[in-house]
Symmetry: C2
Subunit: 215 residues, 2 copies
């Protein structure tokens, strides 16, 4: 039987282009031509424009009227602001919903960290990173909180690729956060989470500074 | 000299349709026909579709694939969730940025409340309500925090129109919050803000229940 794809063309393009931007196959600052994208994906221009307009409302694409669509760039101030929103959401959820955090998923993440230690790859790290931070937000069971978090999450993933040298430190910090969570030590887990988020922010800012110094 | 409108047609339609939905001139649950809207505004269908797609990403419009666009409806759970996100943002900003709240704007709001008391109208109340809650978020000077807040703010405005009987109570609570802020009493202002937000949420939920009872 033929497989029916139920997602609309616009939804599929939205996801595909989002991945291209987040994983940096479309580079920050690059102009995006709707006609070229339409040809690439074998679709008409209208759903491409719809998808790009939606990406703009998520801050991943910049629209310059009468010029076109561009993949987003970030300033140090924007990075600081994005991390503040991230911290607000994650710390709130851990504090307020600590006892509702999914234990089975937490143990799965713990095992995924063992696997990462055996074979450390960028992809394995990214998966643990995303799963751990999502786990906290999911504990709220609040769809709108997940939406506002997701609004900055895509930006966080994008920024994470600017922070290449820190994986080992971040992995160790994730381990310490998960250990505290598994032991049911809320205050300790909270303190470690806050410290981790501040470290990642500072290291990202340093890398941005270093990159700008190279330009 | 001819006045040049610099906002794109899509941006203008986005704002116009948002107002129509928020102010309930397009009712919750109603189907929205892009061709009719295009005729009404004397534009082509493409920017109408762009605007509706963007409104969908803000949760004000629901897209049913192969059926069309609909103005959003709300369940009690959604109302609870929206208020949690609102509370998270407002309480955080008052707590963290109390000393950076714009004093001149606060005094302007205080006078606008006097004006409301002299001539109480729905519009005057709505303006004070929006200005007061925006003032807290603006103190953060964080554009992304304002974005995530705005994501639920449109929904809050929409929900506020479901809560018709509570204006007098809300006005009195706004007065008490502003008094505490003007006196520099942070803890008191925080406690009053939290109580106010919980009261508005509970009253909205009661009204929804009453409306459903009538249906």
């Amino acid at each position: 039987m033929m497989k029916i794809m139920k997602k609309s063309i616009t939804d599929q393009l939205f996801s595909a282009l989002k991945e291209e931007i987040i994983r940096q196959s479309i580079k920050a600052g690059e102009q995006i031509n709707p006609r070229e994208i339409a040809e690439q994906y074998g679709v008409s221009v209208m759903p491409v424009r719809d998808a790009l307009t939606r990406l703009a409302s998520f801050g991943l694409v910049t629209i310059r009227p009468r010029v076109g669509f561009f993949a987003r760039e970030f300033t140090p101030t924007e990075i600081r602001e994005i991390f503040e929103v991230r911290r607000l959401h994650e710390v709130y959820c851990m504090e307020r919903y600590f006892d509702q955090i999914d234990r089975i998923e937490l143990e799965r993440i713990d095992k995924a960290m063992d696997a990462y230690e055996a074979h450390p790859t960028r992809e394995a790290f990214d998966q643990v990173d995303e799963a751990l931070h999502d786990l906290l937000i999911a504990a709220s069971e609040n769809r709108f909180l997940m939406e506002t978090y997701n609004h900055v999450k895509d930006l966080i993933i994008l920024i994470r690729h600017l922070d290449l040298g820190r994986i080992d430190y971040s992995h160790r910090e994730h381990r310490q956060i998960v250990d505290a969570m598994l032991a049911g030590k809320k205050e300790l887990a909270l303190a470690r989470l806050e410290q981790h988020l501040d470290n990642v922010r500072n290291s990202t800012l340093e890398n941005i500074g270093a990159m700008e110094g190279l330009a």
